[in-house]
Amino acid sequence: METVVKKNYHRNTQKYKKTLVKILITIIVAIVGFTMIIPFLWMLSASFKISAEVMELPIRWIPKHFTPNNYKAVWNIGKSAARDYHFGLSYFNSLKIAFINLFGAVLTSTMAGYAFAKINFKGRNILFLGYLATMMIPQQVTLIPKFVMFSKLNLIGTHLTLILPGIITVTGTFLMRQYFMQIPEELKESAYIDGANEFQIWARIMVPVAKPSMASLAMIVFLWNWNNYQEALVFLADWRLYTIPVSLTNFIEETSTQYNLIMAASASALIPVFVVFLAGQKFFVKGLMAGAVKG
């Protein structure tokens, strides 16, 4: 009993010390974090400015002519824009593609990543190296061959040009493989002895454990698709199919760029990203608890 009390006392002073250190570290990290928000703050500020003020130096954080007109113009509220940019439609297209690809890519990557990490099939390593190799050719030179292929398949001018390649991701497969590598072999072996097959092991044991990584992957895949510009630009040749990054080119004038409109549109485009990020963070905590219960 006595030793326990002593230990508790000892723990308490340590706890206070720890709290103090924690507060200090939080402040330091928060300062680093703050520098990372600056572009976002600038973006918000610029989205309420008139064109003439956007590029002013030194930066004027509070707009002199504060105006919500940029948002009105981008979303074509009250027909205030010089023309209808069809931003709402682009927004819908982007959401559709990003979410289809998110679910598709997480599924295919989790499956393939598991196989590459935990099933010792023939030719696994060679195949995986081949996978890695495909990441090493810059997309600038595969763009045209891809384009030619899609036009032969008659897919140019549809969203399938972004969805079919989008539900597969080598980086995602790689990420999931590395995560599964980290999981102890015993977890699988014991299930195997209990008579579970590979699919059951994957679905019942591996997927729940992999949730934090799947959440990261989901966020990243969402962002990739949300920001995919080059391919969307070349493959989608009709404004009805445009995604947000392509529709941003609307705001590039002949000799100048309306950064205030670009920023208003980009700020609007951040909302789903926040939602996905915060949803993903929940899995971080859940994954932790799942691990704790098992551990």
Binding site: G33, M36, W42, M111, L129, L132, S266
Partner: protein
């Protein structure tokens, strides 16, 4: 019908990767093979697909006497090495510190992630403004007593380092997130055992965290290296490779060759040099990982 365990394993393995494999072959592998074929031609893509002349290894020979290629290659290597080393070290430390010693984890992680999700144009503009003579960098250097502060993005010596600093700053959030999700999967009991043995934080970090996270580190090294070797947007937005070719990088030059100079064959040849370079580096890491990655 009875299959040996080995055959079953092979079948399960291939079934798991099948959807992924089909996608990779169709949408990545085939275009890459095309790019290899094109690298032996003088193709100008406006002439139509297949309308080219074979030039043998001419492109692969010519590039070595091309100042732009050689400069860009050097810059790319410097860029990639510096970015990978600094991004990953800072991110690993931050991820662990945030996970163990911080309050308000989610807002801080979100803040770190902001550069990654903010519109790349906004990020670039803010950094251009930061580097201008009105920005904090010049003011700081002036306060240190330097009469003739560097012109940063407009400076032959400083333009590449300036972009490198921005890239590291922008890439930390992504690496922190990947590390964080991996940290959630760490076996807690091992840490508790170490604590009982009286291991300090620093000892735990080097003896447990670093080895446990090595599969994730391997993933981040490979993917960050590849994406740094293929850096494009910040260069295009901030310096356009200038002044002179002081901040030109390979993919930027590949892009110009293919689409401004209409030399797709030449651009493809450069991409394949980039590929070989990346492949060798990745193979070295692949061999090395067996030593330093513990699964």
């Amino acid at each position: 019908m009875k299959l040996s365990r080995k055959a079953k394993r092979n079948m399960a393995g291939y079934t798991f990767i099948l959807p992924n494999l089909i996608g990779v072959i169709l949408f990545t592998f085939i275009p890459i093979v095309y790019s290899l074929i094109i690298s032996f031609t003088n193709w100008d893509f406006t002439k139509g697909f297949g309308n080219w002349n074979w030039v043998g290894f001419k492109n692969f020979v010519d590039i070595w006497s091309d100042k732009w290629f050689v400069d860009s290659l050097k810059n790319t290597i410097v860029f990639a090495v510096v970015v990978v080393v600094f991004t990953l070290i800072i991110a690993l430390v931050l991820a662990v510190v945030i996970d163990r010693f911080c309050y308000a984890k989610t807002p801080i992680r979100l803040a770190l992630f902001m550069p990654y999700i903010s519109n790349v144009v906004a990020v670039a503009i803010v950094w251009v403004m930061m580097y201008s003579s009105w920005g904090p960098f010049t003011q700081m250097v002036k306060k240190l007593g330097v009469d003739n502060p560097p012109q940063w993005l407009g400076d032959y010596k400083w333009s590449l380092p300036s972009v490198i600093i921005m890239t590291i700053w922008g890439g930390i959030g992504y690496a922190v997130m990947i590390y964080t999700s991996a940290i959630q999967g760490l076996p807690r009991d091992v840490y508790e055992a170490a604590e009982v043995d009286g291991a300090g934080e620093i000892r735990k970090f080097f003896a447990l965290t670093v080895p446990f996270l090595s599969p994730t580190t391997f993933f981040l090294v490979v993917t960050t290296l590849i994406s740094s070797f293929q850096v494009f947007a910040p260069i295009q937005l901030m310096t356009r490779g200038g002044p002179g070719s002081s901040s030109s990088v390979l993919v930027y030059y590949i892009y110009q060759s293919a689409f401004s100079f209409y030399k797709m064959g030449y651009a493809s040849a450069m991409s394949w040099i980039l590929f070989i370079l990346l492949f060798i580096v990745t193979m070295i890491q692949w061999k090395q990982q067996k030593k330093w990655v513990s699964y």
